[in-house]
Point group: C2
Chain length 280, copies 2
């Protein structure tokens, strides 16, 4: 199987590693707007060769679109124009509604399978690619009724090879759930980093005093704006709803502190603890 | 050396493990309002025996106060009433100003050393005690000018044995810095958990979709209200300042989303990324 990975960063690179390490007979062609990324990917042996889109795409059985979301909006229709009826295109993007609306009436729409492997780290670029990133995690398949059945099978084979299990959502539900469980965490973490950077000018003090709890909460604040701003742009409305709710929850803690309502504060922490039942 | 640990939970229990595993000849007496905790601590061999305060305290060279902060306010003056000039009292509490103000004029004030080992997990109780919790971390020594020099030496010996290094702060600076690097992280995490629990009624969906990023950001939301409410109560003013700043940072992201000012959003994420320079 020849797999073309378009955007050879954390996700694309990690998927390349997983496929190669699975024992599957696979040749990986890397395509990327950055020649520097391609060179790094070749040196790390994430890809077997690099190629421009025009010559790379026709040689692939599967094309994995793994660029930031804004580039995907431009690339997906172009790829659909290029592929034939035996080729499959997958994406790994964090938002779906805008992407799918843009290709809704494309004559080759069926060759595309919208996928969201729920896995990642706060790092980016081919140097951030790691083995086993996807293992044991969930891959969301979105609006599969609009994809050809054989293309869905190919997508499942790729992510199952990487160790993933599957769930199905429609694009609107996907974007809404991701605003809750992923996008808001990033905004909260960025805002927390800014809060501390703003208030705590003495950086050495943060370094000395910050315990692992702080590090855990701000870990996502290391994430790349080039990746995340397009996500927030495309999922703006859902993200705004969840952000409003988050600010409201913080404001209630604030009011409780001002009123010295520590019984109420205690009760709300006890409620927050219920997240334990959901996350291990 | 006989060490009395008053409050045999995560921190007291982990310190007992560290002292015992260091090879130091140490006998640990556990004292706790909960007989259930004491029984667990004996079964886990965190402590060699349990005792009531009245008979336990006089037998100890060092007393480690490791209860929630509200109990400390009551216990510290009582302990100072009981100890002689060869005994040392340490605490491990997360706030200092209120605690120290309460014993400022106590005739035995010098026997107390205010300590804050910057280490912990989101769990609590003797079952949460773990080896090496303190190793490589920083212990803040607070207002040591008010402690007897030999008592400070004892405190440093205890935490150095557990693998810690030291920094000094006055009580006001300590409470302010901890509001930044610890207390606000907890409130942010509690609020994020509440946001998701409020908005996302379908718990199975959270479980399936939540990736490690979300888990990292809400990890602290598992923390005990019995431990944290007294901290927020005692550090209320500093926490309110930092919370106001945090809500302001989130509100700016909100405004940028409403105005679709994604260039500004990008710039602020890039600034947040500077937290990388501080945290590894």
């Amino acid at each position: 199987m020849t797999v073309g990975i378009i955007g050879i960063g954390l996700i694309g690179g990690s998927l390349a590693i997983s496929l190669k390490e699975s024992g599957m007979e696979v040749r990986v062609i890397g395509m990327d707007a950055s020649q520097e990324n391609l060179d790094k990917a070749v040196r790390r042996r994430l890809i077997d060769e690099d190629a421009p889109l025009e010559t790379g795409v026709p040689r692939c059985d599967v094309l994995v679109l793994a660029t930031p979301m804004d580039a995907m909006l431009d690339l997906l229709p172009r790829l659909l124009d290029m592929v034939g009826p035996q080729q499959t295109i997958l994406d790994v993007g964090s938002t779906k509604e805008t992407l799918l609306t843009g290709v809704k009436h494309h004559p080759r729409r069926g060759r595309f399978v919208a996928c969201h492997p729920m896995a990642g780290t706060e790092f980016s670029g081919p140097e951030a690619a790691v083995p086993n990133l996807f293992s044991g995690k969930t891959c969301v398949l979105v609006d599969t009724q609009d994809s050809d059945a054989d293309a869905v099978d190919v997508a499942k084979r790729v992510f199952a090879t990487a160790g993933m299990t599957f769930t199905h959502l429609d694009s609107r539900a996907h974007d809404l759930h991701c605003a809750y469980v992923s996008h808001i965490s990033h905004i909260a973490s960025f805002a927390l980093a800014l809060t501390v950077l703003e208030k705590e000018k003495d950086e050495q003090r943060i370094f000395e005093l910050a315990s692992s709890g702080f590090g855990s909460t701000v870990r996502l604040a290391k994430s790349s704006p080039d990746m995340w701003v397009p996500i927030f742009r495309q999922n703006r409305d859902h993200v705004l709803d969840v952000l409003d709710e988050h600010i409201e929850q913080l404001s209630r803690f604030r009011t409780q502190l001002i009123k010295r309502d520590f019984d109420g504060f205690h009760e709300r922490i006890r409620h927050a603890n219920q997240i334990t039942k959901i996350l291990t």
